[in-house]
């Protein structure tokens, strides 16, 4: 397997499965083992990436492809270039730290298995996003990050805020992903390929295409929702209900950067235009300043960090949006810097929460004395976040200011001002975080059992490592992140990568002045707000969340209204609507045609007097039925008459098999309807009003007229049928002269197999409906005559006893000759069923069941099972001869005494049909009979 796929599949398969299996038991040893597994898998992926890094640094782009569904443009395509490598290292590197940190963070009661399984799933999804070469594959992983993020945010499923936050995150990012998918389809169509390797080469074609603006906007919606750009930012603060390791990992370092990754990834293909700059840079800039301002007023430590993250994501978005190569370098650099300091800050916030039992800045304070190490590392990271010199955040912020000054976008003069304001705000909230947590008096109203002190080394180590990185990178940028930034920027910009150098000192210039203003004004702003405006008493409002929940509520309400209007619970009405729709759809082609089609020219069959009599009988019976269906018993008799006419029609029109089937079905269904009727009211009340009756009659007449017209048009035309093939081959290849039966058991045996399965399912459905069900039979019929429960008449018992062997003999005969003459498994099965039903009537259910071992119908499932089994095994037997399923064989072996016997393997299949039919029929009747037993209660 190629190493790129392995990097993703390790956490996706090995990671999730192992963590899930091992972590099912939440004992301390198992928790440790689960964490070790997660860590090992993460380090393995990291190691694989590192082993490939030299090739990437040497300028290669590693690509690997496996076809998936080539006709749809889907492939399992992987790609590793500088940008993907940088993100891959970020995901696995920070991932490893998070695994370590989370082991100490999670409480004894928190299921570690669940956490690490989901974390592995997320890591795999994220690696998939950055390593995909096929953009459809990318979408799959993209949505997988949304789903795993949903599960991780909702990790503490018993908490309402966790559930709500998870739902909102999923709705916004998942919805954005769908919009993005539409954009990707457009992109693939425009570029003529779904592989990034091709797409990135075709920027010129893409950017001049008339659909470019639409495609761009669709993709940007996906990016902006994922990376929490205004106005889609509101889900990120709500997602802070997640455990802190999740926030540190997903909501600062990785997932929220997926949108930014995609912007950078597609930059050569879709970026660099006026439109791209106008949208991306404007939204980015608005987000930087707005979110930084809001962050100052958040009392919750994680809320503050969440808004700060939104602001920094806007920072990067703005830089990618600008049409300046240098800004792309700055963006890449800041992705690394932000991940470094923000992950450290989230983890510190988690430690504070863990130790103090609260994250509320109004209650915290003075922790410097109590937890000096944590304080030191957190302050280091916060300094980087504020953009203080000597820390890494300062360097990228200088570049940001520089780009803001140079920006050529609309409203150019305002850009540096907004950028400086953003700097002021971010200084203010960074200061608030540090001052509010570690200085500013002592902690207030902590829970009684809280004794804040530095956490165990394992929990502190990841924070320490990241904090040290902030300083080292801040002092020696070119020697540390330099090569990585360079190779990633080259992946974004290609040949256009400008000359630049990462250094602390660029001389006295405008950006430096802006930084100075930001630091000083930021500090002043914070203390002014704290001292003069009672910052701690301010109650923040969350407009975005309110709008979102308002919209959702309204959506649900209106969906409910529409549903209740369409579907008011009346099946009668739904059925009417369905029928009306069917009639309309049937009529549509006729209405659309220019002229009504005329009858064809086939030579018609002259009617015999008998045919006319039957026709009149049919019309008369059906009409009588409609007018007198309230008398239910009589209605049953009339239905039987129509069934008989149907059977006679089959006889007259050369279908002896159908006639036999119809006749035997007629018997069992009449018995069935009679049994059902005994338990239902004997009469239907007349309750439809005249309007409804007229409406239904009109609809029914249209339906009937349509069917009649259609039949007439068809019957007067000749036809070309595929059936002549069956007539030709039936004897030669199927070994039978009854073509209908050969089709059933041989040519279309697969269909028949499906049909007897349906039969079995319907019968088992009946069993499920009525098993163990008892209903009380009315004591008397509608005329007040009491039902008699005498023993069955002697005549009937004797007759039944005589008829049974005869009937079984007949059905055996019908079965046996079926392949050549009318008959076969279906008909024989029905005849057997009729004979057995007769025993039920003659002997009574209890006696008949004890003879048949029916057990109130339940045991007949065995008949159905054996029948299906025999049919299936016959089909499988064909495999033994290397033929496809259900291939039949036939021959004429000569037996002693009997002589030559025509034998086809299809007969075994037909036996399966026979048994299934008997079983299903008897089950249906028997269950109904058992349900209607006289209750002795």
């Amino acid at each position: 397997m190629n190493p790129l796929a392995t990097i993703v599949l390790l956490p996706l398969l090995a990671g999730t499965l192992l963590c899930f299996t091992v972590g099912r038991d939440n004992a301390p040893a198992r928790r440790l083992l689960t964490a070790l597994i997660a860590g090992t898998v993460t380090l393995a992926s990291l190691g694989l990436l590192l082993s490939l890094a030299p090739q990437v640094f040497a300028g290669q782009v590693l690509v690997a492809h496996t076809d998936w569904v080539p006709s749809l443009g889907l492939s399992l395509g992987w790609r590793l270039d500088g940008l993907a490598l940088m993100f891959g290292l970020l995901i696995t590197g920070i991932g490893a730290l998070i695994v370590l940190y989370a082991h100490f963070y999670l409480g004894e009661a928190d299921p570690a298995g669940k956490f690490y399984t989901l974390l592995m799933l997320f890591m795999a999804a994220m690696l998939g996003v950055v390593l995909s070469d096929n953009i459809m594959l990318l979408v799959v992983f993209w949505e997988l990050t949304s789903i795993s993020s949903f599960l991780l945010v909702g990790y503490w499923g018993h908490r309402e805020d966790a559930r709500a936050g998870a739902r909102m995150a999923l709705a916004v990012t998942g919805g954005g992903g769908l919009v993005m998918l539409a954009g990707f389809v457009l992109l693939g169509q425009i570029a003529g390929s779904y592989e990034l390797s091709d797409i990135l080469q075709r920027g010129d074609v893409i950017k001049t295409h008339p659909l470019y603006p639409l495609m761009l906007v669709l993709i940007l919606v996906g990016c902006f929702t994922k990376s929490a750009q205004v106005p889609f930012h509101f889900w990120l603060p709500e997602a802070m209900a997640a455990p802190t390791p999740v926030s540190a990992y997903l909501h600062s370092a990785t997932m929220v950067k997926a949108g930014i990754f995609l912007l950078a990834r597609l930059y050569p293909a879709v970026g660099g235009t006026e439109l791209f700059q106008a949208i991306v840079a404007s939204f980015g800039l608005a987000t930087v300043a707005f979110a930084a301002w809001v962050a100052i007023f958040k009392h919750d430590l994680k809320g503050l960090l969440a808004y700060s993250t939104v602001s920094h994501l806007g920072f990067i978005t703005f830089l990618i949006g600008l049409n300046s190569p240098l800004s792309a370098v700055a963006a890449v650099f800041h992705i690394l810097n932000h991940a470094t300091f923000k992950a450290a800050l989230f983890m510190s916030a988690g430690i504070v929460d863990h130790e103090c039992g609260t994250r509320d800045l109004r209650r915290l304070g003075g922790l410097l004395r109590l937890m000096p190490w944590t304080a030191t590392f957190a302050m280091t990271a916060a300094a980087a976040m504020a953009g203080i010199p000597l820390f890494n955040g300062f360097l990228s912020k200088e570049m940001f200011f520089h780009e803001a000054v140079e920006a050529t976008m609309a409203g150019g003069a305002l850009v540096p001002v907004v950028a400086t304001l953003a700097g002021v705000f971010s200084m203010a909230y960074s200061l608030r975080l540090v001052h509010g947590t570690f200085f500013n008096g002592r902690p207030k109203d902590l829970p009684a059992d809280a004794h804040p002190h530095d956490p165990p080394a394992g929990m502190l180590a990841p924070v320490a490592l990241l904090a040290v990185l902030c300083v080292v990178v801040g002092v020696l940028p070119a020697a540390t992140y330099g090569p990585m930034v360079d190779v990633a920027a080259r992946a974004v910009l290609g040949e256009a990568t400008p000359d630049y150098h990462l250094a602390i000192w660029h001389g006295f210039n405008l950006p430096l002045a802006m930084s100075a203003v930001a630091v000083l004004a930021g500090a002043a702003l914070y203390f002014a707000l704290l001292r003069r405006f009672a910052l701690h008493r301010y109650t923040p409002r969350t407009v975005g969340k309110a709008v979102f929940t308002g919209l959702m509520d309204r959506l649900f309400a209106s969906a409910g209204r529409i549903t209740s209007r369409v579907e008011n619970g009346s099946l009668q009405r739904s059925l009417m609507a369905m029928m009306a729709m069917a009639v309309l759809l049937g009529a549509a082609p006729f209405l659309a045609a220019d002229a009504l089609p005329a009858a064809g020219t086939r030579t018609l069959m002259p009617a015999t007097p008998l045919a006319v009599v039957l026709w009149l009988l049919l019309l008369g019976t059906a009409s009588t039925l409609v007018f007198t269906h309230h008398k239910r018993f009589q209605a049953l008799v009339l239905v039987g008459v129509i069934g008989l006419v149907t059977a006679l029609t089959f006889v007259g029109l050369s279908a002896p098999d159908l006639a036999l089937t119809q006749l035997s079905v007629e018997v069992v269904s009449t018995v069935l309807l009679l049994m059902g009727l005994a338990l239902l009211p004997q009469r239907s009340p007349v309750e439809s009003d005249t309007f409804r009756r007229l409406r239904d009659a009109t609809l029914a007449l249209f339906a009937g007229a349509g069917v009649a017209a259609l039949s007439w048009l068809v019957l007067t035309r000749d036809h070309a049928s595929i059936s002549w093939f069956f007539l030709d081959k039936s004897l030669a290849e199927g070994g039978g002269t009854n073509v209908v039966n050969v089709i059933l058991v041989d040519f279309r045996g697969y269909d028949t197999f499906g049909e007897i399965t349906v039969l079995g399912i319907a019968a088992i459905g009946v069993l499920a409906l009525l098993d163990g069900f008892r209903t009380r039979r009315p004591d008397a019929d509608p005329e007040g005559r009491a039902w008699a429960f005498e023993r069955q008449p002697l005549m009937l018992r004797v007759a039944a006893r005589v008829v049974l062997p005869l009937a079984l003999l007949v059905s055996a005969y019908i079965f046996w000759r079926g392949h050549n003459m009318p008959g076969g498994g279906f008909i024989a099965g029905l005849i057997t069923a009729v004979a057995l039903v007769m025993q039920y009537m003659a002997l009574g259910q209890a006696r008949a069941e004890s003879l048949l071992h029916g057990a109130a119908g339940r045991r007949f499932t065995r008949w159905i099972g054996s029948g299906l089994g025999i049919a299936g095994l016959t089909g499988i037997a064909a495999f033994l001869f290397g033929r496809p399923f259900l291939t039949s064989a036939h021959g004429h072996p000569a037996l002693p005494v009997v002589g030559e016997v025509p034998l086809a393997s299809a007969a075994a299949f037909d036996l399966g049909v026979y048994i299934t039919v008997v079983g299903a029929t008897l089950l249906t009747l028997s269950v109904l009979g058992a349900a209607s037993k006289e209750s002795h209660a």
Partner: protein, 117 residues
């Protein structure tokens, strides 16, 4: 007999199917479960015949080899044969559904509640 000779079996079959369909649909739209089952049965007859006659009408031409010059179209017959049996199974299911529904809801109205007076 002159009227009779101008009537074709095709006409009788087409109108017969149409009329049974109309009656079946009307019954299916009633409110009580029993007429709905009857309607369904009627519609079943009509549909089976409809599919069957898509192979056109043949007299004395059973699809059995060696019994005559011509054979009727066997394919629709095979289709309808299984349809008849499955139709029975469906009727059985619907009848027992109606019973169960009546026991659960206390009414045999298909809506599961007595219509408002």
């Amino acid at each position: 007999m002159s009227i009779l000779s101008s009537i074709s079996v095709e006409f009788l079959v087409a109108t017969g199917i149409g009329w049974v369909t109309a009656c079946g649909v009307f019954l299916m739209l009633r409110g009580r479960s029993f007429p709905v089952v009857l309607g369904l049965t009627l519609l079943g007859y009509a549909v089976n015949i409809f599919i069957f006659v898509m192979g056109r009408l043949w007299s004395g031409a059973q699809p059995i080899l060696g019994q005559g010059e011509v054979q009727a179209d066997p394919l629709p017959q095979a289709l309808v044969l299984t349809a008849i049996v499955i139709g029975f199974a469906t009727t059985g299911f619907v009848i027992e559904l109606a019973l169960r529904s009546r026991a659960e809801s206390g009414t045999d109205h298909v809506d599961g509640k007595e219509p408002d007076a």
